[in-house]
């Protein structure tokens, strides 16, 4: 009797790139729900719009590159990019801002840079940085979170009108305000102390009101990702550890000029970035020790940008900067091979 042959191993785990990516999407759900609660329908509108644009861009690029459509669309990587970017955009951003960012992320930062597995930079963060540099005003126009003295709560029709019709009404109605990190930055610049600034209503229990609950949601989802091993614990541990460490040093030096470490860890995109952005395996370091270093580098850079740079938050820049360093980190952090002489 004759049989077909194949090489070992003959058993495989039931896993796949699509499964990994879908798990990232599930893990984002609690954080996104919290964002939607505090910042309104706009969060979900952004998410939907970004998903549609990403899938269209992905399809066109796959077709142009002659890749099998069903296989690659099924890997959900484009949707992950779309969600990561959408979650980072202001919730009432005009439609073209979201569309442009996502399209740039998929077309240029993902496919033109090599496609899935080959792109050197985190596509969502490239898209984000392109928008941040090109449209600083639109990118810093965040609505005031729910429960912090908004004029009124926007319904879905109003939200759609603002997103697709123009943002003019926002300013008029006093719906937007500075983000907590922005407030901290500008007021420190005016010579106020951290304690004085913290009295502003934009701050909540640990960090920004509303924001801190979103951070909690992303932490829950992120810990789940780590628990099921869809993300390596070393990257978030390195990043949050690095951020906390440098923040502690400066906080101890002058607690009135530098915000406490728990504020930094819980503010802005730190938690979200640590579990969802820095952990993008394609662009991160791949060695165990390297991932700790890579994460710590991001954490330190985030702090440096926040405290001394030109932007209130710095996760996107920090991630991109460490993306460049990842291959070098990998080269110098190779694990000791089993049986290598000397330890």
């Amino acid at each position: 009797m004759r049989f077909k042959t194949a090489t070992s191993p003959h058993i495989l785990r039931e896993t796949g790139v699509g499964q990994v990516m879908r798990r990232v999407l599930y893990a984002m759900a609690p954080g996104i729900a919290a964002l939607a609660w505090f910042f309104g329908w706009g969060v979900l509108v952004n998410l939907t719009l970004a998903t549609v644009v990403a899938l269209v861009a992905e399809t066109l690029m796959l077709a142009a590159r002659g890749k099998p459509l069903a296989l690659h669309l099924g890997d959900c990587s484009a949707v992950v990019t779309a969600w990561l970017l959408a979650a980072a955009l202001p919730s009432l951003a005009p439609w073209w801002l979201t569309a442009l960012g996502v399209a740039f992320a998929i077309v240029v930062a993902k496919h033109l840079y090599g496609g899935l597995g080959y792109n050197p930079f985190n596509p969502a963060m490239v898209g984000y940085v392109v928008l941040l540099i090109s449209f600083p005003r639109e990118m810093s126009t965040w609505p005031i979170p729910h429960g912090v003295g908004q004029a009124h709560v926007l319904g879905l029709p109003e939200t759609l009108e603002i997103v697709f019709g123009g943002a003019g009404r926002l300013v008029v109605d006093g719906l937007t305000g500075a983000t907590p990190l922005d407030v901290l930055r500008t007021q420190l610049g005016l010579g106020l102390t951290v304690t004085e600034i913290r009295n502003s209503p934009v701050f909540g229990i640990v960090s920004g009101s509303g924001w801190e609950w979103a951070a909690l949601g992303f932490l829950a989802g992120g810990l789940w990702l780590v628990y099921i091993r869809a993300a390596d614990w070393r990257i978030p541990a390195g990043m949050l550890g690095g951020l906390a460490a440098i923040a502690t040093v400066f906080y101890l030096v002058d607690p009135q000029r530098y915000a406490p470490p728990w504020f930094h860890v819980w503010s802005g995109a730190a938690i979200f970035g640590a579990f969802f952005i820095a952990t993008d395996p394609v662009t991160a370091s791949t060695t165990p020790r390297g991932r700790l270093i890579y994460g710590a580098g991001i954490g330190v850079l985030v702090y440096v940008i926040r405290a001394f740079g030109g932007y209130p938050d710095g996760v996107a820049f920090a991630v991109l900067l460490m993306n460049i360093a990842a291959p070098t980190i990998d080269l110098y952090t190779q694990p000791r091979v089993f049986g290598a002489r000397g330890r």
Binding site: M1, R2, F3, K4, T5, A6, T7, S8, P9, H10, I11, L12, R13, E14, T15, G16, V17, Q19, V20, P68, L71, H72, D75, S77, G115, L116, G117, Y118, R229, D232, P281, V282, A284, T286, T287, P288, R291, D330, Q334, P335, R336, V337, F338, G339, A340, R341
Partner: protein, 525 residues
């Protein structure tokens, strides 16, 4: 319970042991024809001692060990040799190899068997007896045991002798059954090994999914000082490097041998074969084979070497429908066979008729997303994704920088890869390319040396001729026969000159690195 030293990586795999480990070891069939390969071991192929038409007795040596790293081959039953020729054998290459074909007479007439009094004889004589009995590692690596039982080659005294009963591959249960049913025989063989190697301690490693085997071995070891260590069920704990680490905390150097760190490791079935050879004078004529998967009555069978797989499957009730792959060995490291007409050899520990539900659905590979799942499971602590990257790009130097040759091809990385990349296949490819390149280099070097020698010879001859012309003397009349001899002299001299050169740079000598890998790679399946 002593401390264990867990190794990095590894996997919890599906087990599928229960299918075949319930019944006791069955006696195999006596097929009408046996196809006995002359190469059933690592090292030089055995020299055939018989030819077509010879009558052979059961246990008669039909192939003689050729050189130090080689092993003898015997007639598994009595009968008539009908041919000595190339036949298909179970080998990943699918290439045929030299076999002795024996038509059995059904009488099972034995040679005269004689036990070896190993305590009285010199250890080299005991090793000689094992070599002549064809004892090789029965865990699957089939390295000649006599070589490993020679402590003389190493300055370091032996600290630990390890008996490998881990049997970490899914589906395989032949060692499990052997330990349950023939523990006394295994321990008797162990006594011989201990006598030859004089280790400080003897450890027997058994995975915790085989409590009955561990109990049987513990009972058999009572009063001997040999210690049974139950280890967690984690693939590949049966790989020598991993088992040694697990039990002793020592790492076998990646470019060295277990003996370098004072450890030697044998499979339990090998110990049993030693016992039969020494205490009964029976060479290795059969082995226990697990027949499992999509067969009607899975189980373990003691099979005569040379029995076709098909006959064995028939004994186990034949195939169920839907057998997609016939695998020799386990699903992690075994290889798929084209045909079930090939014979059982000393390396055949398992025949797995894998159905669709045991095999993964074919999935097209996706790009590597560098997730590092492979790094987490690699027991050699390699960076499989980097090896893949360089192997794929044919950057073999870089692949070697990332310790390609430390890869034991256990298959863990391929198993967990979410992109379904056949990683191990890439490493095998890279290794083969590197070996081929090295052979090419050697050939080129040899050709260069030959060319150089030829130029020198021509030059020398030219000078000799010129010298002759200068001191030209009138030719003496010589008889025709004598003249011929004179003419032949330079030729003979040239031949004599060429001989040592050839001896100095043998072409076909196996590469030391190959032998090292083979020895270090013994595992249970």
């Amino acid at each position: 319970m002593s401390a264990l030293f867990p190794f990095h990586g590894g996997l919890k795999t599906v087990r599928h042991k229960i299918e075949s480990n319930q019944g006791s070891i069955l006696a195999g069939p006596l097929p009408r024809q046996l196809t006995v390969p002359l190469r059933q071991h690592i090292g030089a192929i055995a020299k055939p001692l018989v030819q077509a038409g010879d009558r052979v007795l059961k246990g008669q040596m039909i192939g003689q060990a050729d050189g130090y790293i080689s092993a003898a081959v015997h007639a598994p039953s009595s009968g008539m040799v009908t041919a000595v020729e190339s036949r298909p054998v179970p080998h990943p290459s699918g290439l045929p190899d030299a076999c002795v074909i024996i038509d059995t007479d059904g009488e099972e007439r034995w040679i005269e068997r004689q036990a070896v009094d190993y305590r009285r004889l010199h250890s080299s004589e005991v090793r000689g007896a094992l070599r002549n009995a064809g004892v090789v590692g029965l865990g699957g690596a089939v390295f000649p045991s006599a070589v490993k039982l020679n402590p003389g080659g190493h300055d370091k005294s032996l600290d630990t002798l390890i008996l490998n009963g881990a049997e970490c591959e899914p589906w395989i249960t032949c060692d499990d059954r052997l330990m349950r049913e023939r523990a006394a025989g295994i321990v008797a063989g162990l006594h011989v090994m201990v006598h030859l190697l004089e280790p400080r301690e003897v450890l027997i490693g058994i995975e915790d999914d085989k409590p009955d085997a561990a109990a049987a071995m513990t009972a058999a070891c009572a009063g001997t000082g040999y210690q049974v260590r139950v280890v967690p069920t984690r693939y590949p704990s049966g790989s020598v490097k991993q088992l040694v680490h697990l039990l002793t905390g020592k790492e076998i150097p990646f470019d060295g041998l277990p003996a370098d760190i004072g450890v030697q490791c044998f499979n339990v079935a090998t110990a049993h074969a030693v016992h039969r050879a020494i205490d009964f004078g029976e060479p290795v004529l059969s082995r226990v084979v697990t027949v499992t998967g999509q067969v009607a009555q899975p189980g373990n069978v003691e099979v005569l070497l040379g029995t076709p797989f098909a006959a064995l499957v028939e004994l186990c009730g034949g195939y169920w429908d839907g057998v997609e792959r016939l695998i020799m060995g386990g699903p992690m490291m075994g290889f798929a066979l084209h045909d079930d007409g090939v014979p059982v050899t000393k390396a055949t520990n398992c025949i797995l008729a894998a159905g669709a539900e045991a095999l993964p659905p074919e999935q097209p590979p996706m790009p590597c997303i560098r997730c590092g799942a492979c790094v987490e499971v690699c027991p050699a602590n390699l960076l499989p994704q980097q090896l893949y990257w360089h192997a794929r790009a044919k950057e073999f130097d870089k692949a070697q920088d990332y310790h390609l040759f430390s890869c034991i091809e256990c298959g863990c990385c391929s198993t967990v890869c979410p992109s379904h990349i056949p990683l191990v296949q890439f490493y095998r490819y890279a290794k083969n390319e590197i070996w081929a390149q090295e052979k090419e280099k050697q050939k080129a070097e040899l050709a260069r040396q030959r060319h150089q020698a030829r130029l020198e010879r021509l030059e020398r001859e030219q000078k000799e001729r010129e010298a002759k012309l200068r001191q030209k003397t009138p030719p003496r009349p010589v008889p025709a026969a004598k003249a011929l001899e004179v003419d032949q002299l330079p030729i003979e001299a040239a031949v004599a000159r060429a001989r040592p050169e050839r001896g100095a740079a043998p072409v076909d000598e196996p590469q030391p690195s190959v032998a090292v890998t083979a020895d270090g790679a013994e595992r249970d399946g």
